[in-house]
Symmetry: C2
Subunit: 476 residues, 2 copies
């Protein structure tokens, strides 16, 4: 540990873990208003941490939704300014009964820390913040200027992030974004993400009568909302997994040729992948599994319900059925247009006797891809290689980091993902965990990255800013 900041962080490991546990204990489920207190607790802990490490202008940024936590250090006027991004909100823990330990009582087992949100994105965010704290404690300064932005709406689609960036445009002026969200693809292979899928979605309700009806008294002569919903959902996909919605695939741009070629060489054990999931291979014809995961859009029912779902039987004809849909998008697709296309399809296929209503859309964001020559991307690759002893492969991720498309579109900033979560860590599912070994790798990686960025030449700094807002491919 020749680096004095890294040596300091090593000595602080117990305190770092304790702060992380406290953050995980806050049930910060942004999707559910019942957990407003948990969101509040998480914000309070982060505000305290940013102030304690010595950041300036520590505050909440509000724009109608969940506030974001902000703090800055701008003591190096001749160096670039980076937004360091993370999020404090987490997915709902349902089904709670499938957790081996309670989701908000973080538990260490076999070198893994279990708890909702620990991998997505509390530990990765904590790694970034603790590294900044380490530099400030040991050296009294950071290698580059930093604006910390920890948002509270990532898991609900960053619905007010647009408004937040608009409201605080001056405060958030920067040269690029480095994200502590956007996990590592695999535990066995160093990788760096160069693109994300976007997403959009909404809830749909089918109504067939003014109340549930007795299946004996009315059966055979009235429509059934569950059957109507089933027919609607079935109409959205072809049997082989393609999406049957007209205009859905419009505008999709193929990835750079070099990337497609490189993708074919990525080691990927398809059999082990499916065996690990207990699932069978599935998907759109004519594409490999990695292409389906990274380069093709999706449409998934995230949940559906209607009628009697309790114990035993209740012989009703349900009058209402509900479904939650999300679509993952690839470069060239516009979230609003895709949403409209799916709504139009549902209206067109709505069975006789059924009425449709759409819930408010979830936060939407376009797909994103970083420029292959971005100096921040190159610095991340060097830091990872130095930390993990192997040059990372460039990969994409099928998931969405709304920030990437939004800052590209609004502020003209590129984002590079530098998260130490690993995507097998069951985020969005029961028993989410984070590898303790990733905590050490993460701290080492962040220290190296910041030093490297601080040591770059002024001509490199100039290349941090990609261009004018809206110039990126996906925002088209």
């Amino acid at each position: 540990l020749s680096d004095p900041v890294l040596a300091h962080l090593d000595g602080q490991r117990g305190a770092i873990l304790e702060r992380l546990l406290e953050l995980v204990r806050a049930p910060s489920i942004g999707a559910d208003p019942a957990y407003a207190d948990g969101m509040e607790t998480a914000r309070r802990l982060l505000l305290r941490q940013l102030s304690a490490m010595g950041l300036d202008r520590v505050q909440l940024l509000e724009a109608g939704g969940q506030p974001a936590v902000y703090g800055e250090w701008l003591g190096a006027p001749d160096r670039p300014t980076l937004i360091v991004y993370g999020h404090y909100d987490v997915q709902p823990p349902d089904p709670v009964e499938k957790w081996a330990s309670p989701p908000f009582e973080p538990t260490l087992r076999n070198g893994r820390l279990y708890g909702r949100g620990v991998s997505d994105d509390k530990a990765p965010t904590a790694i970034a913040l603790e590294t900044l704290a380490g530099f400030l404690a040991v050296e009294g300064r950071l290698p580059v200027n930093v604006k910390v932005l920890v948002e509270g709406e990532e898991e609900t689609g960053s619905a007010s992030l647009h408004a937040l960036l608009e409201t605080h445009r001056d405060l958030l002026e920067a040269d690029a974004v480095i994200s502590a969200d956007g996990g590592r693809w695999r535990a066995d292979l160093p990788t760096v993400n160069v693109g994300t899928r976007g997403n959009c979605g909404f809830e749909v309700t089918v109504t067939t009568a003014m109340k549930d009806l007795h299946s004996g008294r009315y059966g055979g002569a009235v429509p059934n909302a569950c059957h109507a919903m089933a027919a609607l959902l079935a109409s959205l996909r072809t049997p082989d997994g393609a999406i049957a919605v007209e205009d859905f695939y419009d505008g999709i741009e193929p990835p750079p040729a070099a990337e497609t070629i490189a993708m074919a060489e990525i080691p990927f054990d398809e059999q082990a992948f499916y065996e690990g999931l207990g699932a069978e291979p599935y998907g759109e014809r004519g594409f490999t599994t990695l292409e389906r995961l990274w380069l093709r859009p999706t449409l998934d029912v995230n949940g559906m319900w209607g009628g009697y779902t309790g114990a035993g039987s209740k012989t009703v004809i349900p009058s209402e059925a509900h479904a939650k849909l999300t679509m993952r998008l690839v470069p060239g697709q516009d979230p609003g247009r895709v949403q409209d296309a799916v709504r139009r399809h549902l209206q067109r296929h709505c069975p006789r006797g059924a009425r449709l209503a759409f819930g408010p859309p979830r936060g939407a964001s376009a797909a994103y891809e970083v420029s292959p020559e971005h100096p921040l991307l190159l610095a991340v690759e060097e830091a990872l290689e130095a930390t993990l002893g192997r040059k990372p492969l460039r990969v994409r991720m099928g998931a969405t980091l709304p920030l990437t498309a939004i800052v590209s579109e609004m502020l003209g900033l590129d984002t590079v993902m530098f998260s130490f979560a690993t995507s097998d860590e069951d985020y969005h599912a029961p028993n989410e965990f984070f590898r303790l070994s990733s905590l050490d790798e993460g701290l080492a990686g962040w220290v190296r990255l910041l030093r490297r960025l601080g040591g770059q030449e002024p001509e490199d700094y100039a290349r941090f800013r990609r261009g004018t807002p809206g110039e990126s491919r996906p925002s088209a």
Copy 2:
């Protein structure tokens, strides 16, 4: 009130209503094991009532499921013996939030008593029992021999009624059954039910992976249990409401020609029917609405669920989805065969990548129709005409009274329905109610019916027993 028994009952009206309220307060939801106490309370109240009125051999009859309550009066050896049937179990009250007053706190509003189970079947059962009590109090005897059987599994398909009749075959020997269940078709028209549909059903689960998966990380390359379930459910029906299951319609026997002719003359305001439900006309082509309701079988999803159904959004690919199905049957259909046909259909249509599992079947029973000349049916028609001032129309009911088919098959007994519930009383739905005016009509009707049965000639008695067990059409 020239009849002394009726005069006595009139004087007891407050006490009768109080006993009914107490019975409705017992949350006797047989389908849900969490309500075992409510079932127990209902049985205790009934045992007390049967003992207090002076019945003999008051006891619980058990056969593995919910016990039935039994009591008898056999003091007229030269007269026929009737089983007086009712049930104390009720449907689950979900969705509870749609009730204007709590389902198990019976509430009087505008001449109606609101509460779960009040119409189906606690008030109609109470009317029968209070009439028996009235005769015993005033005259010390009943006009005919009576065996009271109040079961606890009607709402769950009378799963152990077969075993119960087998175990207590001697105790339950009788000449016919008169049922306090099997409601009146309409509030505006005196009717008598001459047939019921049967039913059967089961729960089905679709599994596509060993756990829910992140829709970003896995979307596009793994099957989705909700989509698979939607495709399965959609495959069960044609778009115009016919059932697409092979062999489903096998063996159906047309009703007697006289009945079909009479049916065409039943006044039925189709527009008002659908407007009252807030639903559009629907159903199998080539049949009238009444035919669809009474003479054609059905297949309905009673409930379906899978994935995230809470507030906001959770971007999972569900690994499990569930549905509850019931089928209503008409004469000639065998419940076991229909169930097998639907299961076979689901297996055949199961999408690639999905696995099916079937829950245990709910109690099943065949359809039933009473002989058009049965003396008990004729006596019921006379009692109704005398009470309501108008000759009742013969109708069928689309619902199921499992007892009818089971006693026909096992004991060779006919059942005539004599319930004072009305089928618009939202049983099986929120805000179930019973008209207080029906309480008075019911008591008057039962007093008249019992007097009439007691006054019949011995040659009529001989015609009570229909024949040997298993001879009826529907049990074929």
